[in-house]
């Protein structure tokens, strides 16, 4: 482009120089001509002076030798002026013709002067003097004629020269005008050309740079030539490509980073060394705190302000070590934008850039849920401990009750009907024993030691069946609603225990709404994936949800963690036992389900949402045969029964009862002894009644050893623990007969008689 510009400028310069030079030459030439014309006029003046001098001398010729004669000096002076005039002319005229004419003129002047001199000096002869005068006059006339002729010719030349000069002036003007016009047009054309050559690439480059400035990437300039603009465009394209590559790398890196931090739930930020500016703040801050990233950037103090007042001192203590090069981790609570309280794990470390402290990098993790789970775990462990305690108590208590009930039953048989008073006392004792049995039963339910009758059934159908019963339980000022889901699946549960759960929850809901309200029972089918299942410590899969909601006063936060504890109650002393929710908790846990409680502020009600695993297929199975249905059969027998029971009281009571009903008994106080006794009486023993949990050798091991000796022996296991314990001992899986403590005396005899009467083959299967 420089060559083009220089070339263009050179072309304009050359054209202008040629035109201006020509015009200058013509003006200069014309000026010279004008100078010549002026000189010619000056010479013309000389000629005129010459003519005047000649004419003067000629005039003086007639006055010589008269009284009016002019002084000779005057004549000679005039005559001398003629030579001066010619000399001046010769100074200017250099052409041969001019010089020749002037020389001729000079000769004529010489002749004239000589004739003059002759006339002036001649004397003494008038005729000769007159002749000399005539000669002089004639010479003067010749000179005058010649001078006038030359003046005329000179006039013509002046006129001609003037015309030529004027013509040349006009030519010069025309050339100058044409030069100026052509120079202007050429300059204009060059300017337009250069403008296009410069403006086009410049515009394209400008547009491209604007696009780049706007953030466009990969912008390329199509303009290409061999000028500097072409180089600029090529370099721009290289730069743009480099920018694009760099941007793509940066974008890729930034995308990776963005993918990382956008999906990160942890709140990451980098605060500067003065704690005045957030150099980086991840968007997850909004998810964690409710405050947007902009709000934190506008007010970095917000980081401190959201700290829970109770944890502020801990936070301030931590911030006191802001500039220390160490990694710290603390846990504190924050108040979110919507007023919620969250636990965060705050981990931070100092950042040094070029060995200069540049603030701290912080990672905040929401640990609210884990904190809650931790609490729940603690609660669960506590509940488990309570369950174990309650179960253990109930087990031992059941043993006692078994003995008490057994002997009371025997005693009842011994008391004559007329002894009404004793019979009444005995009934009171039996009632109390029955109540104690219920109590231990409830404790066993809570501790999940209750023996349950699991069956697949439709929860919706069952709820509809008991709906009317439930309506009678609630008061008239309470509106009971039942919403059953459409996509129901069967649950595998104990109907009776589910009934108890629903009854307990409705009872609590009713008590929570003394002024009346709404009570909703709703079912739904929900799925829990691996993550969610782990969270609630359940197996992943589908669950039927049973929600019982009220519009009552809700549960105070401080009570929430205690509601499932046995004997915890907020009711008046005689309104509740404190076992209702404990039983609910125990039953649901025993069914491999879980409970979520949603309670809001006081007056906004509570929802208990129970989750029960679905059975997998929607078909009901025949329920187990109820033992009560065998009550009509004979209780008497003569067979020998081996009683293996570590509890001596129970062992003796059972021996007493069985012998009372005609049976022969062999007793052993543990499994080892039971095995030995069986070996001794293997031909007589038709049935073994065996406790499950015993010292030295438990019931199942003893059974297995006995089975090894005789596969036809019938065994009835007896335990104060729930069926899951038996399952863990392998008894349930083996299809063995089982009866729970405290064993009702009548039921035990029916069971024994039923087993003895069953086909031996059944027992061997």
């Amino acid at each position: 482009m420089k060559k083009v510009i220089y070339g263009s400028l050179g072309l304009v310069f050359v054209l202008f120089s040629i035109g201006a030079g020509t015009a200058w030459f013509m003006v200069d030439h014309t000026t010279s001509r004008l100078a010549k014309i002026v000189e010619m006029h000056r010479v013309e003046d000389l000629r005129r002076g010459l003519i005047i001098h000649i004419q003067t001398v000629q005039t003086d010729l007639f006055s010589i030798r008269t009284p009016l004669a002019t002084d000779l000096t005057s004549i000679t002076n005039h005559a001398a002026q003629l030579d001066n005039a010619i000399a001046n002319c010769l100074k200017c005229h250099h052409s041969k013709s001019s010089c020749r004419r002037l020389c001729e003129m000079q000769a004529l002047i010489g002749d004239y002067k000589m004739a003059l001199s002759y006339y002036i000096t001649a004397s003494a002869n008038a005729a000769m003097i007159e002749e000399y005068r005539r000669d002089a006059f004639a010479a003067g006339n010749r000179l005058l004629a010649t001078a006038q002729q030359m003046a005329f010719e000179a006039g013509l030349r002046i006129e001609e020269q003037t015309k030529k000069t004027l013509l040349r002036i006009n030519y010069a003007k025309l050339i100058l005008f044409v030069t100026l016009i052509f120079s202007f047009l050429l300059a204009l054309a060059i300017a337009v050309y250069l403008f296009k050559r410069i403006a086009t690439p410049l515009n394209e480059i400008l547009m491209a740079t604007k696009k780049v400035a706007k953030g466009d990437r990969g912008v390329t300039i199509t303009f290409a030539d061999k000028t500097e603009f072409g180089d600029l465009a090529r370099n721009f394209n290289i730069m743009s490509q480099a920018l694009q590559v760099g941007y793509e790398k940066l974008y890729e890196s930034e995308s990776k980073f963005r993918r990382l931090y956008e999906f990160a739930t942890d709140w990451e930020y980098w605060i500067d060394e003065n704690q005045e500016r957030l150099i980086f703040n991840s968007p997850s801050c909004e998810q964690l705190t409710g405050y947007s990233s902009d709000e934190f950037e506008q007010s970095p103090d917000l980081i401190k302000l959201i700290v829970h007042p109770d944890d502020r001192s801990l936070y301030d203590l931590h911030m006191g070590e802001f500039a220390l090069d160490m990694t710290e981790e603390i846990e504190f609570r924050i108040i979110t934008k919507n007023g919620k309280q969250k636990w965060i794990s705050h981990r931070c470390r100092a950042i040094f850039v070029d060995n200069l402290f540049a603030g701290r990098r912080v990672s905040n993790r929401d640990i609210t849920e884990s904190k809650a789970l931790e609490g729940e775990l603690r609660q669960a462990q506590k509940m488990e401990s309570l369950g174990l305690l309650a179960g253990g108590i109930a087990h031992d208590f059941n043993n006692l009750l078994t003995v008490i009930s057994g002997y009371l039953a025997l005693l009842q048989l011994e008391i004559p009907p007329e002894n009404i008073k004793s019979k009444r006392y005995l009934d009171q004792i039996l009632n109390s024993a029955e109540r104690a049995k219920n109590l231990t039963s409830n404790l066993l339910v809570f501790s999940r030691k209750q023996i349950i009758n699991m069956q697949p059934f439709s929860l919706n159908k069952h709820l509809l069946q008991i709906y009317q019963l439930l309506k009678r339980i609630v008061r008239e000022d309470i509106e009971l609603n039942l919403e059953c889901c459409q996509d129901e699946q069967f649950v595998f549960a104990d109907r009776n225990q589910i009934d108890q759960v629903v009854m307990n929850l409705i009872t609590n809901a009713k008590d929570a709404m003394p002024q009346g309200g709404k009570l909703n029972i709703a079912t739904s089918l929900v799925s829990f994936d691996e993550v969610s299942a782990n969270k609630y410590d359940i197996n992943p899969g589908k669950y039927m949800s049973l929600a019982v909601s009220d519009t009552g006063h809700g549960i105070a936060e401080e009570h929430l963690i205690h509601i499932f504890e046995p004997f915890f109650t907020t009711k008046e002393r005689y309104d509740g036992t404190g076992l209702g929710l404990s039983i609910v908790h125990g039953i649901i846990k025993q069914h491999n389900g879980f409970i979520k409680v949603y309670t809001k502020e006081w007056g906004w009600g509570t929802t208990f949402r129970l989750y029960l695993p679905v059975y997998g297929k929607n078909s009901e199975e025949k329920p187990d045969i109820c033992l009560d249905e065998k009550s009509e059969i004979s209780l008497q027998g003569v067979e020998t029964i081996l009683i293996v029971e570590d509890d001596e009281n129970i062992r003796e009571m059972m021996q007493e009862v069985l012998q009372q009903y005609g049976y022969r008994t062999v007793c052993a106080e543990n499994g080892q002894e039971g095995l030995e006794k069986y070996v001794l009486h293997r031909d007589e023993v038709k049935l073994i009644i065996m406790d499950v949990i015993m010292p030295k050798m438990n019931g199942l091991d003893t059974y297995n050893h006995i089975r090894a000796l005789s596969s036809q022996v019938k065994t009835l296991f007896m335990s104060g623990y729930a069926q899951d314990i038996l399952t863990s001992k392998g008894i349930s899986e083996a299809g063995l007969e089982f009866i729970a403590k405290p064993v009702p005396f009548q039921q035990l005899l029916i069971k024994i008689r039923t087993m003895l009467d069953q086909n031996v083959e059944m027992n061997t299967n």
């Binding site: 000779l72 000096t73 000679t76 005559a79 001398a80 002067k113 000589m114 003059l116 001199s117 002759y118 002036i120 000096t121 001649a122 004397s123 003494a124 002869n125 000769m128 003097i129 002749e131």
Partner: protein, 298 residues
């Protein structure tokens, strides 16, 4: 006023008067030099302008040259025109010396080394005039009654050849006024016989070869002193000495030599009134009494 003050005043007035006189004296440093029409008056004036300019440059004395239409007028002009001096011809010089006491200072040495000249009597070769006898009833042209070569010598020559009455012997005669005019008149046929000094004749012959080709010299006069500078005797000795020394010393410096070359002379030499004795002798032969001679042309 004290006597000292009066004395001072007198001294100042005296100084002023003296300065005035000196300035007047300095203003008088101008010489009016006459020129006789030896040749064409214009040429004569141009030729002597060279000498005048040289004197001015060398002495600081302004020289005003005055060309005269007649030889004889020179004597009257010494009085009427207040001339201080003149380059006089030999006869006019003799006249001036005799009548006015003019003192001669210097005269030039011609290019041929002579400081004298002679007079020629000549005629056209085609006129068949070969001697004085052939001149009878011919037209004769003289230069001036106050010239040696142009009148006195021919008069003496004619007398020597028995011709006393010029008017009677010649058909016509007149005075051309200058030597070149006389030569040109014969050459042009205005006269049959002419007389002029050799220096002018030779000068014209050098310029115009036709002169030697067409004219024949019939008689030659004795040598007489060339035209010298004579000044009035009242002129200060200092100026006379300056003029004399300037002219005589011209050839000793480049400017002078250049001026001499243009003047067509080798140098100037001193001259005195005695040098004009040959002229007086010729005049005597011509029957002219210098003191009473009426030198004006008719």
């Amino acid at each position: 006023m004290s006597h000292e003050g009066e004395d001072m005043k007198k001294a100042i007035i005296l100084s002023l008067c003296l300065s005035l006189l000196l300035s007047l004296a300095a203003g008088a440093q101008e010489l009016k030099i006459g020129l006789i029409p030896e040749q064409n008056v214009f040429a004569q004036q141009e030729r002597y302008r060279i000498i005048g300019d040289y004197i001015e440059k060398q002495t600081g004395i302004k020289v005003h040259l005055l060309i005269l239409p007649r030889y004889g007028n020179i004597l009257e002009n010494f009085k009427s025109a207040d001339m201080d001096g003149a380059f006089l011809g030999s006869f006019t010089g003799a006249l001036a010396a005799q009548k006015m006491g003019i003192e001669f200072l210097a005269r030039p040495v011609n290019l041929n080394g002579n400081s004298t000249y002679c007079g020629y009597i000549f005629a056209r070769k085609g006129s068949k005039i070969k001697d004085v006898r052939d001149m009878k009833q011919k037209r004769i042209v003289f230069v001036d009654r106050a010239t040696t070569a142009g009148y006195v010598f021919p008069l003496a020559y004619f007398k020597q050849h028995g011709i006393s009455d010029i008017d009677a012997y010649f058909l016509a005669n007149y005075f051309a006024g200058s030597h070149d005019a006389a030569i040109q008149a014969v050459l042009d046929g205005k006269a049959d016989v002419g007389c002029a000094k050799d220096t002018v004749y030779n000068l014209m012959a050098d310029r115009n070869p036709a002169i030697k080709a067409k004219l024949r010299i019939i008689a030659v006069s004795p040598m007489v002193p060339s035209n010298g500078l004579g000044v009035r005797k009242e002129l200060s000795v200092e100026i006379k000495q300056k003029l004399s020394e300037t002219l005589v010393g011209m050839h000793k410096n480049p400017a002078g030599r250049k001026a001499l070359q243009d003047f067509r002379a080798l140098r100037f030499i001193t001259t005195g009134n005695n040098d004009y004795e040959p002229v007086l002798k010729i005049a005597k032969q011509a029957g002219i009494d210098v003191l009473t001679y009426r030198y004006s042309n008719k």
